[in-house]
């Protein structure tokens, strides 16, 4: 027997479970504007503290403050608000459509809209995102047609992916949006490979990897950091920490590390932590990281601190594992409200215009849905062909698939 007594297993638990009063007292939120903005060629070891704080621009009064503020013209910020509102309206409609049986599955990004929308605007044409299923904002802010997204969600006859993929697993090379994999983490290292290819070719395009807090535990996260670090790949490695991975709170994936951003330190990769519900902060940090990549200074790890307001997916019911009021208690607020208040404060927006645009975007989404539904929904109307099921496995259909297709009578 050891002089120190028996060992025991530590199993981390979240602050609150259903029935508990939500408590984010442990989440240290620095005041907006208090974190320095280093030059992009700063040596990583000089900015380690940026992985343990939160870069914030919008304060409680809706003002943009500090060294990361003042970088976005009002017009762009207005566009950002509209993008986020469109994403939210889109999500709401598609959620309803799923409930109505028009598709099998849907995933919202409620509360996290600022991240993808603002990041997309910091990219240049030709750059490539390797998104997860919760970055619909990249497509919508990037101007990808809502109808095409809906066709995919409905798996209808106009689905660009011919019904092969689960709803929301879009692919849009033209819009810098890599084909989403349902497998967590795999695309993170592919983003690094894409960026390495760009460097090998002497190109100027950069890549962005996306991963959730939970999925950082996957092995490919490590592979991505190892390769990015070794070859100084021009890639921005984004971690969306929305506090939950289905029913599992972020402490299970994070373990004893203070933050997910800290993971970068083991690789000499500069790591920044940013308020993911602050459009201006996200955009400013994204620009910083993208500039580093573009200037061949290598990868940057960015952790977006946010909260998954909705259920994980339409197959999930969060009331079984977290307090119902937790999302209200979330201290970083609502990204749409915060940007709206900022713009109203700037005098370029108003409650009325907001309500008006909300109605407009609602009809835009509705119109898109009508158009999409003309091509069918999962269980009614136009369908992708059964032939399409056999195609595209290889560039040319090999004999065994020709035999099988024939056997299937198509």
């Amino acid at each position: 027997m050891s002089e120190h007594g028996p060992l025991s297993l530590h199993v981390p638990e979240p602050e609150g479970r259903p029935g508990d009063k939500p408590d984010f007292g442990d989440v240290v939120i620095p005041a907006a504007g208090t974190v320095a903005r280093p030059p992009v060629d700063v040596p990583p070891e000089e900015i380690r503290e940026l992985a343990y704080t939160i870069i914030r621009v919008l304060n409680r009064h809706g003002e943009a403050v500090g060294p990361w503020a003042g970088l976005l013209p009002d017009g762009d910020a207005l566009q950002g608000l509209r993008d986020m509102m469109k994403v939210r309206a889109f999500d709401a409609r598609m959620l309803t459509a799923q409930r109505q049986g028009k598709t099998s599955f849907y995933m919202q990004c409620l509360g996290e809209e600022a991240i993808a929308c603002a990041f997309q605007k910091a990219l240049s044409p030709g750059d490539m995102n390797f998104p997860t299923y919760r970055q619909q904002g990249l497509l919508i802010a990037g101007g990808y047609p809502l109808v095409a997204m809906m066709n995919q969600i409905f798996s209808n006859e106009a689905d660009p992916l011919t019904g092969r993929q689960l709803p929301v697993m879009y692919s849009a090379r033209s819009h810098g949006f890599f084909s989403i994999s349902g497998n967590l983490g795999t695309q993170y290292v592919q983003a690094v490979g894409w960026a390495m290819a760009s460097a090998i070719k002497g190109d100027t395009r950069i890549a962005a990897g996306w991963i959730g807090d939970g999925a950082t535990a996957e092995s490919d996260f490590h592979a991505a950091l190892v390769f990015a670090s070794t070859y100084r790949a021009p890639v921005v490695l984004n971690i969306v920490n929305n506090q939950w991975a289905i029913s599992t709170f972020q402490g299970i994936a994070r373990g004893g590390a203070g933050t997910f951003a800290a993971r970068g330190h083991g690789f000499g990769i500069p790591a920044l932590r940013v308020d993911g519900n602050d459009y201006l902060a996200v955009h400013a940090v994204a620009r910083w990281a993208i500039e580093r990549a573009r200037r061949n200074l290598g990868p940057t790890l960015v952790e977006y601190v946010t909260y998954r307001v909705a259920a994980h997916s339409t197959s999930d019911d969060p009331s079984a594992y977290r307090p119902k009021e937790e999302s209200d208690a979330w201290p970083l607020g609502d990204p749409v409200e915060r940007l709206k208040n900022y713009l109203i404060g700037r005098g370029v927006w108003s409650q009325d215009r907001h309500a008006q645009y909300a109605a407009e975007v609602e009809s835009e989404v509705l119109a898109a849905q009508k158009e999409a539904e003309r091509h069918g929904t999962l269980h009614s109307g136009g369908k992708p062909s059964m032939r399409a099921m056999f195609e595209g496995v290889y560039k040319e259909m090999p004999p065994h698939l020709v035999r099988q297709r024939r056997k299937a009578g198509v």
Binding site: S8, L9, V11, E13, R17, S104, F105, S155, D159, T162, G163, R164, Q165, L166, P167, M169, S181, G182, N183, L184, G185, G214, A215, A217, E218, S219, D220, A245, I246, S247, T248, I252, A253, G255, S315, D316, A320, Y321, L378, K383, P384, M386, A388, M389, F390, V393, H400, L401, Q404, A408
Partner: protein, 337 residues
Amino acid sequence: MARMSMIEAIRDAMTVAMTRDPGVVVFGEDVGYFGGVFRCTQGLQQKFGASRCFDTPISESGIVGTAIGMAAYGLRPCVEIQFADYVYPAYDQIVSEAARLRYRSNGDFTAPLTIRMPTGGGIFGGQTHSQSPEALFTHVAGLKTVVPSNPYDAKGLLIAAIEDDDPIIFLEPKRLYNGPFDGWHDRPVTPWSKHPLGEVPEGHFTVPLGKAIVRRPGAAVTVLAYGTMVHVAIAAAEATGIDAEVIDLRTLLPLDLETIEASVRRTGRCVVVHEATLTSGFGAELVALIQETCFYVLEAPIGRVAGWDTPYPHAQEWDYFPGPGRVGDALREAMAG
């Protein structure tokens, strides 16, 4: 006896095993507090504490890798991979480590662990929630591969698996969790509570690994199936009126070749059915074995009905799924051959 769905039977098996043996531990993604996305582990953490049933980081290789270490220590981990489609990150740990540990150490260390995972399609889950990877395990020496088709077997086989001293891949056909789906996707499914195999003994019992069972006796043709396809095969026999003998393999490896051979020797005809892609599927092994052992009694080529050699599509799910229509065709072909 109690009435159980397959989910309840699986949960009950773990409860029984954990109660009898304090070395049994259960973990995986979302299996702790929440009780698993299919709720198979619901209540286990409350009952046995967080040290014996807990949530893990999303790392399948970590789940299996730590389970191997625990098994080598002397525990009996029973871990969950959230969907069989996500087992590949753990494939190295399974194939290179769990499967070979006993052999390479000459029994100095062993890996008695059970790896549960929902398998198969039929729920519009698309290519990442529908796969049937059993053949990727049956090729690996050192593993046992089990696929139950009903609550009774699920409980008995899972207890047997957890108590077994070798690493076991335990594939749970998710389309059967709530009822015996027969592939007629446009007809209502009877819940297990209305099916005789939803009658499950309480407490401890086992269904031995490596034993198949005749689910439907018949004289005209032998159908080999497992998991969901057992019910599809029975439905196809009924629909075609062909006097098919349907054998539920239950364990793919070790395989109960004796039961298979006895049947094919009587019928002289055979059809093999699985949901996994055709090429190099487990059906190929079954065909190879039968043609070897029953060559001189076979009256027609052994037919294979399987998933097409494509990823599992979303919209075309029912074109992909080997339903009673396709199995029926194969039965007719086998009879005509």
